[in-house]
Amino acid sequence: MHNSSSIENPVISLKGVNKWYGDFQALKDINLEIKLKEKIVICGPSGSGKSTLIRCLNRLEAHQEGSIEVCGIELHEKMQDVDIVRQDIGMVFQSFNLFPHLTVLENCMAGPNWVRGIDKNEAKERALSMLKHVKIPEQADKYPEQLSGGQQQRVAIARSLCMQPKVMLFDEPTSALDPEMVSEVLDTMIDLANSGMTMICVTHEMGFARQVADRIIFMDGGEIVEQNTPEEFFNNPQNERTKTFLNQILS
């Protein structure tokens, strides 16, 4: 196989990760390996630690025990090159977090131009082509607040993609959207999945999970309770907590 090594080596690996907020343990002994091009969906009840987990993957949150390795670099308190790692890990937030003082185009150009050192014209070209990918090239000169929630989230996805990341993290990307806008964002994510991107998504959209995920991870109380292929996960859940959760959200 011509690039078996990159497929076999995990891009992200977590070993024995524990995290506390004061006395409260948010993550308990997390062990996880994610391979290139894999699509992972993380679900679980609120407070189960799924957002905390995904935010540890680009060191927006700190873990206290265990090791997290991303693209071959270990994340820890004293690392020098956290911004290098972050440049390769795109992240999409529940609340979009677009830069309100910059236009849509400038939002997308900022990363490549300011940190990748790509010149303005090229950054602009790349931004426009990404905006085309997410199907809103005509909004390029508007400010974020002039767009609908769904459009803003698609800009946020385009902004991350402009950095040409190796991995994309999605932290409940559709939870803050009006119901009629959820599908436009999910469609964008499905396109992205089909293009071969490595994706880790915290989401409650089970239809999306069924369609896209290679693996579904169920978390509860800070632990990974169960992980399986979508088919097994939905049709044959093993753990009682998984069954209860699925009953609650699928009924």
Binding site: Q87, N97, V115, E145, M163
Partner: protein, 325 residues
């Protein structure tokens, strides 16, 4: 304040309120007895010689005054909002002039002399005041940015120095700071002129206040902006320069404008160092002939005009930022 869509009847148009108001106004004018003022003289055909008119005179004067006052309010209440505001402004301004006029001033005094005193106030005093304030506000802004970042940093030294600085310079009266700098620094061997020490005192004092304004402005930017920037791989300096500070400017501008206006007036305190700014000249020029009030009023008018201009500039800047975001 956000106006409701339902408009209440104007209280001035309710008879009971009008009656109550008239009685209160009447009581006020009666209590303060305007018989021996210009109003009493106007009414002398009715009440005779004002000082001898007694209870009857006092009642007539206060009755007439309160009628004029309430009628005036009633008439204004029918005008459109903008006209109302204009009329009230003009009336209050005339009251202020009347107050100044009652000092029995020799207003021509400010035009006497070669060059005239007014021209001296403007050419020398106004220039110096603006110069000192502008330099001080520029330095204070630079101090404030550094101070705000230091106060928000995790560095113990930076935080300690910045918080000690703001505590000290917000804790001492500006006048005292001016003296301390002007007379204290030479003790350390630094000879310092009056104008630089005035500027230093104003910059340090207002830098301390503005540090707090900038800190609050930076802190008001949601955490998500930091996270999104970090997730893109931006470093601290870049995030601050390109993402956080540009967004805090619209929040910082209004209180900073207020600080600038306040500083402009507080620059009068450096007159104690003998700097020829507006206040110093007003005291000096008036003292010669004991015409203090004439010159002080002139200074007052110059300061007031300046602040009105600054307020207009501030409003324009605020509008610009509102349009953009």
């Amino acid at each position: 304040m956000f106006v409701d869509t339902v408009i209440e009847d104007k209280s001035l148009h309710k008879p009971a309120f009008l009656l109550g108001l008239s009685i209160a106004v009447l009581a006020f004018f009666f209590a303060f007895n305007f018989t021996n003022t210009i109003f009493g003289e106007f009414l002398s055909p009715v009440i005779g010689n004002p000082p001898e008119s007694g209870f009857f005179g006092r009642l007539v004067v206060s009755f007439v005054l309160s009628i004029i006052f309430v009628l005036n309010l009633l008439l204004i209440s029918f005008a459109r909002l903008k006209i109302q505001i204009l009329i009230v402004w003009i009336e209050l301004f005339f009251l202020f002039l009347a107050f100044a006029y009652s000092f029995d001033l020799e207003l021509a005094y400010i035009f006497i002399g070669e060059p005239s005193k007014l021209w001296l106030m403007i050419s020398k005093g106004l220039f110096t005041t603006i110069y000192i304030s502008a330099v001080s506000i520029a330095i204070a802004t630079a101090i404030a940015i550094v101070g705000a970042i230091a106060k928000l940093s995790n560095n113990g030294f930076a935080y300690a120095i910045a918080s000690f600085y703001t505590s000290l310079f917000r804790g001492l009266p500006l006048l005292l700071q001016i003296y301390l700098i002007y007379m204290g620094l030479p003790q350390l061997g630094f000879m310092i002129d009056a104008i630089p020490s005035g500027i230093a005192a104003l910059s340090l004092c207002y830098g301390a206040y503005m540090t707090e304004i900038f800190r609050a402005g930076i802190q008001s930017i949601p955490k998500g902006q930091w996270e999104a920037s970090r997730a893109l791989g931006f470093k601290f300096g870049l995030i601050l320069r390109k993402i956080i500070l540009p967004q805090s400017i619209p929040i910082i501008v209004p209180p900073t404008g207020n600080q600038f206006i306040a500083m402009l007036k507080d620059s009068s305190l450096v007159s104690v160092l003998g700097i020829w700014e507006i206040m110093f000249l007003a005291k000096k020029l008036g003292a010669k002939d004991y015409n203090h009030l004439e010159m002080l009023l002139t200074a007052a008018m110059i300061y007031w005009t300046l602040t009105i201009i600054l307020e207009m500039i501030q409003a324009r800047i605020e509008r610009k930022y509102q349009q953009k975001t």
